[in-house]
Amino acid sequence: MKHLNRAELVDFIEASPLLPAGRARHVSTCNQCRAEADALRSMRALATTDEVPEPSPLFWDHFSARVADAVREEEPGRDRGAAAAMRWRRSPFATWAAAATMAVLVMMTVVWRTTLHAPAPAMGPAMSGAAAGTATFAPDAAAAGDESDVEADEAWAVVRAAAQDLRWEEAHAAGLSAHPGAAEGLALELTADERSELARLLDKELKHTGV
């Protein structure tokens, strides 16, 4: 009959009911398994004799008070990483960064919406290149081609107000930066009409700010 494997030997020395009776009977007829089981049993008994010394009775009160003090300084139910994340979220820098991110997102959304839904400017001679897919910007023609005023656009006013205090140096320091070529990439995805509308809006805004 096969010798007992490691798990069976453990079950045997612990008199586990999980060990089938036939396997347990094998030990009584097998010197090798019996010797191994005896050795394991004696080691187990030897280990059991080593007891942890009982600390002073005063220790337990002192210990629980120590733990209670340490726990009082902890945020409940949060690990250190989560607590650090919370601290970061509460910092003024993080608040500013979040506000700047929101402003940029709102700006991008409104520009996108405006270019999609605003009426396309009349195609004057200066914009003839746009029809061919090569947006040629002519400020005078664009301004003359559309009478709608950017100033009247409420969404644009919201964007301008949100971005009014935005300084690009601070935005860059906060980690807000565009990848090189991102603007060009975005412009290439616009249709000719969208590009001309974007050009018109930018032109209006540049004139407004006196740049």
Partner: protein, 207 residues
């Protein structure tokens, strides 16, 4: 036939959640661990104090088995409870709180022992039995033997040591140990077997 002009409102003075959040901690042992954990999550830190008082002895003893001295065991046990408090939100309740706490404890102990190595000291003052009770030679031999066993256990690989300590000294079933150390029951039994076999090799010259 018109609708009756009734206004029905149902009020409950204390929901189950509120009851969990405010258990009667004076009841001591009558409040189970799970209720205390819920209360603690609900902001009652005194509930955690009860959990500490309830489990501190087992945690300390387990830590002591890994580091074999009172000072380190005390520091480790404190660390275990702080980590448990921080990680209470990860306790899902699928196992007993004590099993979960043992898991935290074993992880903390293995990390500490793994990074520092066991600090083996001879015997604590408290290890020395009262000389008025037994003959000094017998005591000395017993004390020396205990120190040898402890030193041999400290030299076992981490998983074998954890299996031996949890099985022999804390008398946990193999299934619970498997849950604590995150392995199968078969692996735990194999580790326990190897732990005893290695202990035999380490202690052979004196046996």
């Amino acid at each position: 036939m018109g609708r009756p002009d009734w206004k029905v409102s149902v009020t409950r003075d204390r929901t189950d959640a509120a009851r969990a959040a405010a258990p009667d901690l004076d009841a001591g042992t009558s409040v189970d661990d799970r209720t205390l954990v819920d209360a603690c999550r609900g902001g009652r830190r005194d509930a955690f104090d009860v959990l500490v008082q309830r489990h501190q002895r087992q945690v300390y003893q387990l830590c002591y088995r890994f580091v074999a001295n009172h000072e380190d065991a005390s520091d480790l046990a404190q660390d275990v409870f702080i980590r448990a408090y921080r990680g209470l939100h990860t306790f899902k309740g699928n196992s007993a709180f004590s099993t979960w706490l043992y898991r935290v404890c074993v992880n903390v102990c293995l990390n500490r022992v793994g990074s520092r190595g066991p600090r083996l000291v001879g015997l604590d003052i408290a290890d020395r039995p009262d000389p008025r009770v037994e003959h000094s030679d017998t005591l000395l031999l017993r004390g020396e033997r205990a120190a040898e066993v402890r030193a041999a256990i400290a030299r076992l690989p981490a998983k074998q040591r954890a299996a031996l300590i949890l099985r022999v000294y804390h008398e946990l079933p193999h299934e619970a140990i498997a849950e604590i150390v995150g392995s199968s029951v078969g692996a735990v039994k194999a580790n326990f077997f190897h732990a005893l076999a290695n202990l035999r090799k380490l202690l052979r010259p004196q046996s």
